[in-house]
């Protein structure tokens, strides 16, 4: 059904939001401009492999018994073993998302440590910073004072670094994800599931006795209800991080898809109604895309805030004390 020259919107969107062994920048005519990335694979059959993804020649060739699965197959776009057609045991390849993750991590560390250096060289009587460090401070202050200290009045120092790191990591990668051509990190479930896992572990390893008692044997409830509630509470231990995972992932992914979809109207109308129709629709679509992009900046902040807020609430629940 695909007409010649027509954009395959679904493929384009999936290409943008999905992961890849290349960092695809743009297409000039028929040539795709992309940076190759390192492939790092452990196969049960052939052991360790480390080579540049340029060896695959954009999926057209196999290398060392590995190949990129073609469109339409079970593992489309992923590395498979040529012999079995299955995924290798471990695929630690530095994909576009991994590369984006590493870049974002390094930038985030540099930013925060750069801001921290400003404070190290000054004492408390110095006037508050301006510019970039002032912005960092404003956000740190907001999260620290209004979210962390508000929700976790006790043992604040134990949880502050994690919650601040989570907030800034999510906010920063959300913003980076909005840059055209960059990796869609927080719209990837593997990223959000590991963030939620951090919250889950940090919440539960420091859980107080009262917290576990509320989970498994809540004395506030009538005795016959306690086993039932224990089951529900036990399940909710896992639904909490699950909801964190899905909320962040789905919000960012949906935002990206909507934005890409709106932008592809430009190319779709170019084929279906050339001329004035296309121009007017293009204007509408670009205006809408600008609006959505701004909305996404807002969402970038809100989702980072919500994740941090909920994490701090889960942590505060785990710090329950008996009120006798």
């Amino acid at each position: 059904m695909k007409e010649a020259g027509q954009l395959d919107v679904t493929a384009m969107i999936f290409d943008h939001v999905g992961d890849s062994y290349y960092w695809h920048l743009t297409d000039i005519g028929e040539t795709s401009v992309s940076a190759p990335l390192p492939v790092l694979v452990y196969s049960k059959l052939t052991g360790w492999h480390a080579f540049s993804s340029s060896r695959f020649h954009h999926g057209h060739e196999a290398y060392e018994g590995l190949a990129i699965a073609p469109e339409g197959s079970a593992h489309a776009g992923k590395i498979i073993e040529v012999a079995t057609g299955e995924r290798p045991l471990f695929d630690f390849s530095v994909t576009k998302n991994v590369a984006g993750l590493l870049i974002a991590s390094v930038l985030l560390c540099l930013m925060v440590i750069g801001a921290a250096r400003w404070y190290k060289r000054r004492d408390v009587t110095a006037p508050a910073p301006k510019g970039f460090i002032g912005t960092v401070e404003m956000m740190v202050n907001f999260i620290y004072t209004d979210v962390i200290k508000e929700n976790i009045p006790e043992n604040t120092a134990r949880y502050t670094p994690y919650l601040l790191t989570a907030f800034f990591f999510i906010f920063f990668t959300n913003l980076l994800g909005l840059i055209p051509g960059s990796a869609n990190l927080t719209g990837n479930i593997a990223v959000t599931v590991s963030l939620a896992l951090f919250t889950f572990v940090i919440t539960n390893i420091f859980g107080t006795k009262a917290y576990w008692q509320e989970v498994f044997w809540n004395k506030a409830l009538p005795a016959w209800l306690r086993p039932l509630m224990a089951v529900i509470e036990f399940i909710s231990l896992f639904t909490k991080p699950f909801s964190l995972t899905i909320r962040l992932f789905a919000n960012i992914l949906a935002g990206h898809c909507a934005l890409l979809g709106v932008l592809s109207v430009v190319f779709l109308t170019a084929v279906s109604m050339p001329g004035a129709g296309n121009y007017s629709m293009s204007v509408v679509s670009v205006l809408l895309a600008i609006f959505l992009d701004m909305l996404e900046v807002l969402v970038a902040f809100i989702q980072a805030f919500v994740f941090t807020m909920l994490s701090s609430i889960y942590i505060s629940l785990s710090q329950a004390h008996h009120h006798e």
Binding site: F14, V17, G18, D19, A76, G77, K78, F90, D91, F92, S93, V94, T95, N97, V98, L101, L102, S105, L108, C109, V112, I113, A115, A116, Y119, K120, V124, T125, A128, V136, E137, V140, N141, Y144, T145, A157, T160, P161, Y162, L164, T165, F169, N188, I189, A190, V191, V193, S194, L195, L197, F198, L253
Partner: protein
């Protein structure tokens, strides 16, 4: 759908990268910033309470100053009053003393005048006595130049004495 299945490779990379970021920032980043924020909040709170204290102290000092000024003023007027009274006292006392002294001088003068007058009177009286005796002597010497006159005079004197008794 591949979008809903977490990729194990990315998952492990993410755990690793986020873990390292968390470690690095916990060690070198956040505590410095939050420490400063806490310290600044404390510093500002302290500043506010200090400013309040200073304001109260200033007010106390102002009240104290006003009180001192008032006290000084009242003491000054008291002193002026005292000085006026003392001056008045001194003047009136001096006047009194002067009066007394003048009186005394007058008294003395009068007494002296009195004494001298008496002396003079006494002198005059003596001189008058002496003169009269002299005169009488001369008169007698003249009139009693004869024996009969002498006799007659004695008789008259005797008569006079008789009459008197």
């Amino acid at each position: 759908m591949s979008l809903l299945v977490p990729e194990s490779g990315l998952f492990i990379w993410m755990l690793l990268a986020f873990g390292v970021v968390l470690f690095v920032l916990t060690k070198f980043g956040w505590p410095v910033i939050t420490g400063m924020l806490d310290e600044r909040a404390r510093y500002i709170d302290e500043g506010i309470s200090k400013a309040k204290e200073a304001g109260e102290k200033l007010e106390r000092v102002q009240q104290e100053t006003a009180r001192l000024i008032q006290e000084a003023q009242s003491r000054q007027s008291q002193m002026l009053e005292d000085a006026a009274r003392i001056r008045q006292d001194i003047i009136s006392k001096a006047r009194e003393e002067a009066t007394v002294a003048a009186q005394k001088v007058l008294e003395d003068a009068r007494r002296q005048i009195e004494t001298e007058k008496e002396d003079a009177l006494r002198d005059i009286r003596r001189q008058v006595g002496e003169l009269s005796v002299e005169i009488a002597e001369k008169v007698l010497r003249h009139s009693l130049s004869t024996d009969e006159a002498q006799m007659e005079y004695v008789n008259r004197l005797l008569d006079e004495v008789e009459k008197k008794n």
